[in-house]
Amino acid sequence: MNFELTKEQTMIKKMVRDFAQEVIQPRAIEIDKEAKFPVDIFEQMGELGLLGIPFSEKYGGSGGDTISYALAVEEIGRVCGSTGLSYAAAVSLGASPIYYFGTEAQKEEFLMPLAEGKALGSFGLTEPNAGSDASGTKTTAVEDGDDYIINGEKCFITNASFAKTIIATAVTGKNDKGKNIISAIIVPTDTKGVKITSNYDKMGVRGSDTAEIVLDHVRVPKKNLLGDPQKGFNQFLYTLDGGRISIGALGLGIAQASLDKALAYAKERTQFGKPISSFQAIQFKLADMSMEVELARNMVHKAAWLKDNNKPFSKEAAYGKLYATETAFRSANQAIQIHGGYGYMREYEVERYLRDAKLLEIGEGTSEIQRMVIARQLGC
């Protein structure tokens, strides 16, 4: 057993923390309020190599591991949930599937610009009538000579308005048992027939772009099919498992921020002639928050470690996502409570933490879906 970070991991954490503190934090309130995607911040993150952490240098990545990536997501999430979500989605959903399942040619054409931070990628799975249940996918991809013609509609897709490519899931046929085969296809966003609009007025993660996509007779070459034509579904299960580690890390960041703010405020705020941190009712809240943050961190890091060591991590990723995101919501809620009336105000930021944290209990598999994944692993 060794709970210590390596020198590189420590350095990465420190660098991302400094960057987040100095560059993102001063703009976090504005990003939320204006609901404006901070393109320039992503350019800087790209230059620092953050968008390529878990990918090898061969494909323009930084050659880091999943733990380093989780540390980076946590540090960014600690100051800005919107930036954190778009970051996690770009790496885990937009780029990872190509890294894991792409052909050499696909990696060179589509992964390189993402890993080098020169472009963003999206993953389009959710549809108006297929959310938790991906098997309800209605989008179709029909073969036509050397191409697929894709028709359908996607909703709630992170980063799509700013993406160079979307990995879209679509029904490509039926298997022996007559069930739909769902595959993933790389769709460049400048292809004719791709219409992307982002009109959602969101509760939280307001600065993260979320878009609706209409695919109307979109023609892409067959070589853009990602991975095994028969096993599309299992591939994106693996993708989502990996993505869960990053959403867990994001929850961890928000939970840590909630604790930091609440603790600092409790020590400063005086009522009844004493700092409110001297009241046991407040102390117990802080004690619980601090414990839960640490437990969430251990779980997220363990899942990342399992992935880095090529061990099964599906159950642990679900534990980590579920526990860290629910911890984020609880911690943010308590942070507001500890701030009293001030906590309800935007300026104090903790109310934003709560709104941002709520998304994490929904995106990349709801809390209920996490519990189903865990129960399935238990053999239920």
Binding site: K7, E8, M11, M15, L48, E57, G63, G64
Partner: protein, 257 residues
């Protein structure tokens, strides 16, 4: 060009610092590269990129200083040297550090040595100038601009908010002031590459020095935190009276008038 940077590990004064029994508690303190030395590292990298050569970062410190050296390597320095005095020296001072560095530089051909203006922990600003004078080279402190053309060096130096313009020549030691540049963040590829860059570790033995040669010239008798800031006072009443009261307080209580 042979460029050297003098770098010190110091605690982060923006984090909480605890003092007990006249010493700063190491546990819980966060350690960083002395912020002024970050300007030195950044400048060294820029000068190397403009004129060619190699950047070597040197620190006199302990085993943990490796972290700060690796960060400088991740920013883009080429080599690092850790002169580890942990086992040999108890309490060094600026004399000690300058003496150790003098021995280190004895067989080096340095064209340019960059240091921070001060270290934020002890803030003496002495190590750079002491080293330069024992090496017999020119030095300029608190530089905010450094332009090198052949052997000629044009410098802007901060003098308490004013600018002094200086022309000098290599070899040279400068100490770096805020405003000189904007230190970069170490990039991810930089961090991964830093692992493979050379980091040499020396002890004072390797520099043919004895403990006695570098014994501190000063003695620290006590360390304490500044008194806690008390809550401000808001004067009330008629503006005329407030002004009178303020002047009286400044005279009699604060004794600044």
């Amino acid at each position: 060009m042979n460029i050297y940077v003098l770098l010190k590990k110091t605690f982060d004064t923006e984090e909480k610092i605890a003092v007990s029994g006249g010493v700063i508690e190491d546990d819980g303190a966060e350690f960083i590269i002395n912020p002024y030395d970050e300007y030195a590292v950044e400048e060294a990298i820029n000068q190397r990129d403009a004129h060619g050569g190699e950047v070597t970062v040197v620190t006199v410190g302990d085993e943990d200083s490796e972290k700060q050296l690796r960060t400088a390597l991740a920013m883009g320095a080429d080599k690092a040297v850790l002169i580890n005095t942990e086992d040999d020296l108890e309490d060094g001072d600026q004399f000690t550090t300058a003496k150790v560095l003098e021995a280190f530089f004895a067989d080096k051909e340095a064209d340019l040595i960059l240091a921070g203006n001060v270290a934020i922990d002890e803030a003496s600003g002495q190590v750079g100038p002491r080293l330069a004078s024992s090496l017999g080279i020119s030095y300029v402190t608190t530089v905010t601009s450094l332009k090198i053309d052949g052997e000629t060096v044009n410098i802007e130096k901060d003098v308490e908010g004013d600018v002094e313009i200086i022309e000098t020549s290599l070899p040279l030691l400068v100490t770096c002031q805020q405003g000189l540049n904007d230190p970069r963040y170490p990039s991810l590829p930089g961090i991964m590459k830093a692992k493979k860059k050379p980091l040499e570790e020396l002890e004072i033995d390797d520099l043919d020095l004895d403990e006695d040669d570098v014994e501190a010239k000063t003695r620290t008798t006590d360390i304490f935190l500044p008194p806690e800031k008390e809550a401000g006072r808001v004067l009330e009443g008629d503006v005329q009276d407030q002004v009178k009261e303020l002047i009286s307080l400044l005279k009699n209580e604060a004794k600044v008038l």
